[in-house]
Structure formats: C-alpha cells, structure tokens
C-alpha cells in the first residue's frame, strides 16, 4: 500500500477532471463519484497506515519516486512522495474528515443545481491537499499549496452570483498570494544557499548553513504559513471565506487547508533548529493571533464568523506550539488533529442549524434550538466541551499540553507565551459558550417564518462520527504519549522539560479560567435574555465586531500607498517610458521614410547602390577596418 500512495492524489484528481468535463449528464451520479473518490483515498491511506504500523519506527519514512520532474543543470528535481508518520497523520485526517464531509455535502447541497461542480472542486481540494502533505520537496509541496489555494478560491466563490461572495473569494486569493510570495522566496533562498529544494538535501545541508540564511528562510516560510493559516498579519481573509458553503468551511477553512501552515513549519523543523529568532517569531505570531482571534470571536453574532475567529485562534495555539521547537511540534500536530475533528464537527453542526433555519446565520435570531434539533445539540455540545478543554474530551489533552509547553523556558518568554495561552483558554471558554448558549439555549428568537427541524441522517451521521472523535480521540492518542511517540521519527525525541510553574497548578488555573468563562457566558447569554439586535457597545466591542479594524488597517497601510505607488508609476510610465518609446519610434519611422527613398524603382540606381556598396566594403576590408 505504501507504494500505492500516488493513488491518493491521482484518484481524486481524475474524479475531479471527470466531473468537470462530464457536463450536466453527470448530475444524477456525479456526487457519488466524488464521495467514492474521497472514500478510496481513506481506504488507501488506512492500508498504508496499517502497513506503516508494522514497520520499526526508524523505517517508517517511505519515499515513493514518481518521475524525473525538472532534469537540468544545477536544479535537478524528481517528483516524489514522502510517506512518514507526519504525512500519514495528515493523510488520515484529510481523507477521513474529507470523506465524512463529502457525504454530508450530498444532502447539504441537494438543491444546488451545480452540485456536480461542487464535488469536482472538493475532489480537487482533496487531491491538492494530499499532494501538499505527501510531497518530498518544497517545489512539489508548492504545487499542492497552490492547488488547495485554487480549490479554496473556487469554493469560497461557489455562489459567485452574489457579488460579496465573489469579492470574498478574491480577497482570500489575494491575501494568500502574499503568503505564496514568502514560499517562493524561501525556495529561492534554499536553492541559492543550500543548493536544492527537496526535503532530503535541504535538511541535510541546513545544519551547515549560516544562522542568517536559516533565519531568512524561516521567516519567509513563516510568511507563507501566515497566509495559508490566516495568522496575523494575513488573517483578514478567513472571516470572509465563510461565504463558501458550510461543508467547505468545515473541511477547508477549519479542519485541513488552514492548518497547512502548521504542517509547513513542523516539516521545516531542521531549518528552525538553526534559526532561533525565526522560531521565536513563529511562537509570537501564534500567541498574538490566538488572543486576537479569541477577542474577535467574543463579539461576532454570525455563527460561522464566530467559528472562523475561533479557528484562527486555535491555529494560533498550533503555531505557538510549533514555535516552541521540538518540545511543541508533536503537540502542535496533536492539537491540529483533535481540532480537525471538533471544529469540523461544529461547522457541520452550524450547517445543520442553518439548514433548519433557512440559512439564518445571526445567532441573535436562534435560541432554544436544543429541543428542535437534538442530535445537532448533542454533537455540537461534544465539540464545545472538546474545544473548551474539559477533561476527558479531546481538546483537553492537546491544548493543555500546549499550555504546559508554553510555560517551558527561561526568562520572560514562558510567562508571556504561557500567559497568552492561558488567557486564550479563558476567552475561548467564554466565546464558545456564548455561541453555544445563544444557539441552543435561552428563549427562541426565531423570525416568524422559521420552523427549525432536525437535518436528514446523511448530515447527522457524519456529525455523530465527528462528535465521537471529539469526545474520545484525544484520550486515545494521549494515553502513554502514543501520538508523540508515533511522530518521533519526524519531530525527534525530546526529554521532558519542567514548566516554570508545576503542572497541576497550570491545569487547575486553566480549568478555573475555563469555568469562569463558561459562567460569565451563561449569565449573559444563557440565563438572561439576548436582544434580537446587537446593542450599542463599548469601543472595544465595536473593534472586535469589526475584526479589530483589520480591513481598515490593511487599506491604510497597504492599499492606499499601493494605489498611490501605482498611480505614480503609471504617470512615470506615460511621461518617461512611453514618451521615450514614442519618440524613438517616431525617429525610426522618419529614418525609414528617408531610407525608403533610395528604393526609387530605378534599376540603374539599384545597380549603383550595389556598386557603391561593393566599393565601400572592399575599401573597409582592404584597409582592415573602418
């Protein structure tokens, strides 16, 4: 099975192409082809996983050579796949959650006339995402990286007849481009200073390279990761990306694609090993974003945007862990996996709520849905408990480890990073409980024409499976550090470090803050009445409602100067470059008109031209020069 991993990419890609080309005749069966393609990736992935479990841990990295891709000169690159515990983790996550979401989408998109195309894009996404995590070189990873970007763009703008959705897609595309530039520059630096872009050579050369080189590569990789994972300062696109159909938000903008940045950082561990400054930058970005996302999440009334802010914040946790170095890598990926389950589950729950509420997304018009949608309420509730980090649910095992690791170190760093992680946990508890209570508890604030009902089984079954994962996966993987040991061939073995505060104190502090967050949320949104329109609020709440004015900041810092720069350039182009070209063209034209006169049609003057030319040429040659 390990040698068949190329099928993981080929099958969904082929299915995607078929669905795109098949046309309307594929409408009755197209979505099932999509589900089958996605399901087959899970089966192949599972087979490969079982085979890998049978190997010793040091033999688990398996290279699959595909073909000679760029043969030539100094850059000689083969296309190949690297199947190791890290990529296998992603393969299982993407194919399993992806398949569940495919099934869910069959029902969710039932009435959409373009369901076939939707599945084509979903399959394209699965193929690109698996290529991204399986690639054995940065360049091939980049192909997948752009592929998921494309799929994300297409799916955010899936309902592009609404101008604001099309704009959202474009925004995601443009912001991601900035991150992509980082990856391109990083590859350029690798090629220039390390002589290759494949993982094996780069990682072998990295220890010998200078700190400056590695720091530059590390920071550009971080820029790439920020773009894809919606981390500060490139976070602005994720909220708008909720314009896409909800299964897309669940799969791409919560569980998988947005975590690609974390994958990139963890995969590049040997580079960060030699660049402590870049590593600290990763942790700082993560810590900042996790608080920022949580603050935004506290003020959002749109259920999907609140979840998006939460995703941003949770990825901040993963980035923070990845920025801690080998101590944190395993926990970053651990949290990524558990988050993939509970966040995807909650998004599907949100989709189920929207399905029952005629696409209403304003939580102020929800309330008391626990009776109308029991399954959704329970499954969502398990996700809620997981993200809060209540033991023994999944989130507790992964998030608590990150908080612990953040407190490891010397000087002020553990206090700042750890403090941010700890406060983030309390904020998370508040905004997630707010979301949960506003939706499922309190009084019904539905609009008159709404009759909430439970979604069909094809939607609830995936939600139930994900909820089971949200509940128990963390515990299963955490027992005996099973997950950390599994990743050890990639992240390396790390001795246990003691945090600056004792572990029981940290756990207790976290749980107290979480309980506090839940209690405040209950008081304000569970027990008390929630107004149907957002009340006037303090300046800080307004700032949070407006995503901390991220768009205004971007406009002032980038767009306006950019516009002025382009205007200046256009002017300079017209006044200097064009004018020079025009004048020159005029001069050429005039010369042409003059020379043209020698072609006067008289054969005798032609012969004279030849003769004079000949004489001149003979003189030049005999003289030996002009």
């Amino acid at each position: 099975m390990l040698d068949l991993t190329w099928l993981l990419i080929a099958v969904p890609l082929a299915s995607s192409i078929v669905l795109m080309l098949a046309g309307k005749r594929a409408n009755p069966w197209g979505h099932w082809v999509g589900v089958a393609a996605s399901g087959s990736t899970f089966i192949v992935g599972l087979g490969a996983f079982i085979q890998m479990l049978g190997l010793d841990s040091e033999e688990r990295a398996h290279a699959v050579h595909l073909f000679s891709w760029i043969p030539g000169g100094e850059l000689n690159l083969d296309a190949g796949l690297l199947v190791d515990p890290l990529s296998m983790t992603f393969v299982l996550l993407v194919s399993f959650v992806g398949t569940l979401i495919h099934v869910y989408s069959v029902a969710y998109m039932e009435h959409d006339p373009n369901r076939r195309i939707f599945f084509a894009y979903l399959n394209l996404f699965v193929a690109a995402m698996l290529l991204l995590v399986l690639a054995d070189s940065y360049l091939l990873l980049f192909v997948g990286w752009e592929g998921v970007g494309l799929a994300s763009y297409l799916l955010i703008g899936f309902w592009n007849y609404k101008p604001e959705y099309a704009t959202a897609a474009k925004k995601a595309f443009v912001v991601n481009r900035i991150g992509d530039i980082g990856l391109i520059i990083a590859m350029g630096l690798m090629f220039a200073y390390l002589g290759a872009v494949d993982f094996e050579t780069v990682f072998a050369e990295a220890p010998a390279a200078s700190t400056a080189t590695l720091t530059a590569i590390g920071l550009t990789l971080l820029l790439a990761a920020c773009g894809k994972s919606a981390q500060f300062p490139l976070q602005s696109w994720l909220g708008d990306a909720m314009a896409g159909p909800t299964p897309v938000s669940a799969l791409i903008h919560a569980a998988t694609m947005v975590t690609a940045g974390v994958y990139l950082i963890v995969r590049s561990a040997p580079i960060y090993a030699g660049a402590p400054a870049a590593q600290t930058a990763v942790a700082a970005v993560g810590a900042f974003t996790l608080v920022l996302g949580a603050l935004i999440g506290m003020a959002k009334d749109d259920i999907k945007k609140a979840l998006a802010a939460s995703t941003m914040s949770q990825i901040g946790y993963m980035m923070l862990a990845a920025g801690l170095g080998p101590v944190g890598y395993a926990f970053a990926i651990f949290h990524l996996v558990t988050h993939g389950f509970f966040k995807a589950g909650m998004f599907l729950g949100a989709g189920s709520v929207m399905h029952g509420m005629k696409d209403q997304v304003d939580m102020r018009r929800y309330g008391a849905l626990r009776t109308a949608m029991v399954t959704t309420w329970i499954t969502f509730g398990l996700g809620w408990l997981a993200i809060l980090g209540i033991p023994p649910f999944s989130g507790f095992w992964s998030k608590d480890k990150i908080i612990e690791s953040a407190f490891v170190g010397e000087g002020a760093q553990p206090w700042i990073l750890g403090g941010a992680a700890l406060i983030g946990a309390g904020l998370t508890a508040f905004y997630m409980s707010r979301l949960f209570f506003m939706t499922f508890h309190g009084k019904a604030r539905w609009t008159d024409d709404q009759h909430p009902h439970e979604s069909p089984a094809m939607m609830t079954v995936p939600m139930i499976i994900l909820a089971v994962g949200s509940a128990f996966l963390g515990l299963i993987l955490a027992v005996g550090d099973r997950f950390a040991v599994w990743l050890e061939p990639v992240t390396g073995h790390v001795e246990h470090h003691e945090p600056v505060l004792p572990v029981p104190v940290l756990i207790a502090a976290t749980l107290i803050l979480v309980a506090l967050g839940v209690w405040v949320a209950w008081r304000k949104y569970g027990a008390a009445d929630v107004p149907e329109t957002a009340p006037a609020a303090s300046l800080s709440t307004i700032a949070a409602r407006n995503d901390m004015f991220q768009d205004s900041v971007n406009r002032a810092v980038f767009e306006r100067p950019g516009t002025h720069l382009t205007r200046t350039l256009v002017y300079a182009d017209a006044a200097i470059v064009d004018a020079a070209v025009d004048k020159q063209a005029e001069a050429w034209g005039k010369t042409g008109e003059t020379v043209r006169r020698t072609q006067n049609g008289q054969v005798r003057s032609y012969a004279l031209t030849m003769l004079v030319g000949l004489v001149i040429v003979i003189i030049i040659v005999v003289q030996g020069g002009l």
Binding site: G592, L614, V621, V622
Partner: protein, 526 residues
C-alpha cells in the same frame, strides 16, 4: 596535356539526379501531353513524387552516412552531412512550394498567367484565358531550381558553384515573371531581378578570376591552401574574396545588395515568392558556409569586417524600412533583408557551431515564410459584383481578418511571431542558436544589435497582428476582402504552423540531427 577520366561517385548524387531527371522528364511531358488538365496532373504528380522521393533518399543517406561524407568528384564536389542536411531542408521547401504552385482558388484560378509569352492586356492573353490554357512549365522550372540549389550546397569549386548558381537562378527569373494578375509589376520585378542578378554574377566571376590569379586554382581546398601560403598578394586575394562573397550575399539579399528583393518579392506570383524567400536564402547560406569555411578560412579576420558591416547594415535597414511599408509582401521582403542580417551574425568569427545553427535557423525561417505567404495567397480582394480577384496585400485590407477567419489569422500571427523570435515558436529557437554561435566567438556587440533589431522588428509584425485581431473592418468595407480557402494552400499553412509550434516547443530532436550535420568535408580526395 592529358585528360584523365574523372572518377565520379554516383550513389551520393541520387537525390540531385532524381530531381534534375524529373525536371528533364517534365519538359518532355510539356511537349507530349496536350490536354491542359491531364498535363497539369502529370506534372504535379511527377514533381511531388520526385521531390518526396529525393527527400527520402537524402534523409536516408544522411542517417546512414558513415564518417564525414563522400568526395563525389575530386576538388569539385562533395556530399557530406552538411550538404545532406541542406538538401533535405531544400527538398522540404520544394514540396511545400510545389503544393502552393498547384493551389487554385475556388473559382479555379491559378497563380500563374495562362500564357507567359504574350503582352499583358493583349487580345492573345484574353484568348488564352478563355481557352483555359495553363502554364504547367512552372513545375519543371521549380524542379530545376531545386536541383540547382541542391548542387549549390555541395560544390567545392568556384566555377562549378557559378554553374549551380545559374542553374537555379534562371528558372527563378522566369517564375517571377509569370504572375496571373498585375503582370506588369511581375515583369518589372523579374527584369530587375535578372539584371541585378547578372550584375552580381559578373562580380562573382570577376572575384573567381582574381582568386584564380592569386592562387592558381578555382577549387576551394586549393584556394584555401593558396591563401594560407600567400605573401604579398593580399589585395588581389582580398578583392577576389570580397567579390565572390558579394555574389552570394546578393542571393541572400543582404544590404547593400538587397535592392532587388522588394520589387521581386512584390511582383512575383505569391507561391514563387514563398518558395524563393525560403529556398534561395537557404541555398545561398549553404554555399556561403562552404565557401567561407572551405576556402576563405584564412581570411577570417579580414572578412569579419565585411560580415559585421553587412550584417549590421542589413538588420538596421531591413527593420527600419519595413516599419514604414504599407504593402504586405514588401514588408515581408524587408523583413527577409533583416533576416539576412541575422543569418550573417552567425558568421561572426566563423564559429563551428554555425554549421549546425544555420541549417536549423533557415529551416525555421523558411517554414514561417512558406506559411505566411501561403496565408497571403488566400486573402483576396472582392470585386463589386462579388467575384474574387487578386490578393489583398495592402495592410489596411487585413483589418478584422481575425474575426472573419480566426484560424487563418491565428496561423498568420503564429508565423509573424516566429519571424519576431518570440519564445515557444520555432523562430525563437532559431535565433537563439544562431546568436549563441556568434556569442561563442565573443561577437557580443553584433548580437546586441541583432537583439535590438529583433525587438524593433517585432513592432511591424505585431502591428499586423493588432490589425487582424483588434481593429474593426472599416465601414462599407465588410465585403471588400474575401478569404478564399484553397485546400492545397491550407495543407501548407497547417503543415508550417504545426512545424513552427513543434520546433518551438520540442526543438531537441531536430537540433541534435543538425548538430550531427555540423561537419564539412573539403574537396580534396581521401
């Protein structure tokens, strides 16, 4: 004085013999088949069969040749890989040219006058046209031209070179004069071509005489040896060398020996222009290579002045004057002058890589030329009563062609881009290998001029593309231009377009074949 029976190796001559033999048979066909339609069919079949057959033989010989090649006739003629490469290219142009010669409009109109020997506009002409007479001599004439050109690429003796030159020139003079429409223009172009050609032949012979006087031989190898050992005869040798080179530069259409080009290109029937533009340039380049590398190698420093001057003058004049042309065929004529300059760039410093770069360059240039003129034959003026008239060659008439016949206009755009040397077309690779050859000898100023001239030249190529695709047809002119699809011309356009794209994207196999041809055999025995 005693005569020795010359020893001739016949087998390597097979392609030339096939073509010239078919030409001779073609003359007999003229005499014995009286029905025009049958005669035409027979001539066409004969020409195509002989050209394709000869091409297959030439390519087979090229592929199976051991060593550098064969001395066919001591001191006089060789057939080596270089010669076979050029012969294959020429035969390809011959095949495409013959197809164009045979192309007819939908109304059955040929490119050639029904009777070449009568005065334009005379009653005899009208009568000949009404009786459906056809001038099928064009096929044997083309075969003679191709045969002469093939000889031209292989001879290693100045006198023999002159004979070959005349063998292919004389049929071309006649062909140029045979246009069906605008016959006076055609006659004028042919006469100018003939007069100036005679002038340049005289210069060539004069140069040959001077070289004979200086070295005592007309054979390349002995002239070369004579130059190497010469002391004190420099001026005689130099003048002789310049004169023979100029004789070939005339055929190449390089400045200042270019004056015939615009008039002949414009006046000639367009199929003849296509054939002449592609094949004459190739033959002239082949002979120039053999002359310079075989006989005049010792004068590389002195002759470099000649090549640099002429190359720069050709590139600049060709480009500058093409900018202001309003007639399509004249514009392409000036473009061909600029291309003569680009070809000469590869001679700077006489690098070895020129031997493989130029056959490829001329292949790409010739394909684009064939294709472009084949497109021109299909864009026609339309009379008031809707009849299809002669070719629409004023630039303005091509406005909006892209909307009317997108495929035809797209192929034209492809050929123009190839002329301009835009990447992913054959022309780019051609220019790249030619200029690389010059760079390898450090002639970067020349390459710089060449690149600037290429960039400036792109202007008038792209102007036509803009005209075809982005300009509306002037009001009231919607019906003034007709696209007359002729199946044979379309075959040429498609073949050339496919080749231009393929050679632009995967030039590897053909390039390596020509690399294998970069070997010259000098005339001496053994």
């Amino acid at each position: 004085m005693s005569f020795v029976t010359p020893v001739i190796a016949w087998a390597p001559l097979a392609p030339i013999i096939i073509v010239l033999g078919a030409a001779a048979i073609g003359i007999l066909v003229e005499a014995f088949i009286r029905t025009p339609a049958t005669r035409r069919a027979a001539q066409l079949a004969l020409a195509l069969a002989s050209l394709v057959g000869a091409a297959l033989v030439a390519i087979l010989q090229w592929a199976t040749l051991d060593g550098a090649g064969t001395v066919v006739l001591e001191h006089m003629m060789v057939v080596d890989r270089q010669a076979l490469a050029w012969q294959s290219v020429l035969l390809l142009f011959g095949v495409l040219g013959t197809l164009l010669f045979a192309a007819r409009t939908r109304a059955g109109e040929e490119a050639f006058t029904p009777l070449g020997a009568v005065a334009p506009g005379s009653t005899e002409e009208t009568l000949a046209r009404r009786k459906g007479m056809q001038l099928t001599e064009v096929f044997p004439l083309a075969l003679f031209a191709v045969g002469g050109m093939m000889l031209f690429t292989s001879v290693t003796d100045l006198i023999f070179l002159f004979v070959a030159l005349e063998v292919f020139s004389l049929p071309l003079y006649i062909l140029v004069a045979l246009a069906r429409r605008r016959r006076l223009l055609s006659h004028e172009g042919a006469l100018k071509y003939f007069l100036l050609g005679a002038f340049s032949s005289a210069l060539f012979l004069f140069g040959a005489a001077l070289l004979y006087g200086a070295t005592g031989s007309t054979s390349f190898d002995e002239v070369g040896a004579g130059i190497a050992s010469a002391t004190g005869l420099d001026t005689l040798i130099l003048a002789g060398a310049v004169l023979v080179v100029v004789g070939l530069l005339f055929k190449l259409g390089a400045v200042p020996f270019h004056s015939w080009t615009p008039d002949a290109y414009q006046g000639a029937p367009t199929p003849v222009t296509a054939f002449m533009g592609a094949a004459t340039k190739a033959a002239a380049t082949a002979a120039l290579i053999r002359l310079v590398y075989g006989a005049l190698y010792g004068l590389d420093w002195e002759l470099s002045w000649l090549f640099w001057t002429v190359a720069i003058a050709s590139m600049l004049l060709g480009t500058v004057v093409a900018l202001v042309q309003t007639e399509l065929k004249r514009m392409l004529a000036y473009s061909s002058i600029a291309h003569a300059g680009f070809i000469l760039v590869a001679f700077a410093g006489f690098p070895d890589s020129t031997l493989s770069a130029l056959p490829f360059y001329l292949l790409t240039y010739g394909l684009a030329t064939m294709g472009a003129f084949a497109v021109i034959t299909q864009v026609r003026e339309r009379g008031e009563d809707g009849t299809v008239l002669g070719e629409a060659t004023r630039l303005g008439q091509w406005a909006g062609l892209g909307r009317r016949s997108p495929w035809l206009a797209a192929s034209m755009a492809l050929f123009l881009l190839s002329f301009a040397g835009i990447p992913l077309t054959a022309g780019f690779v051609g220019k790249f290998v030619a200029f690389s050859a010059a760079m390898s000898e450090g002639a970067w100023p020349l390459v710089l001029v060449a690149v600037i001239a290429s960039a400036a030249a792109a202007f008038f190529y792209v102007r036509l593309i803009v005209l075809m695709f982005f300009t509306d047809v002037p009001d009231g002119q919607e019906d003034a231009v007709a696209v007359d699809y002729s199946p044979l011309a379309r075959v040429v356009v498609v073949a050339a377009a496919v080749a231009v794209v393929l050679l632009g994207i995967v030039p590897g196999p053909v390039l390596s074949a020509f690399e294998n041809a970069g070997v010259l055999l000098l005339g001496a025995a053994g």
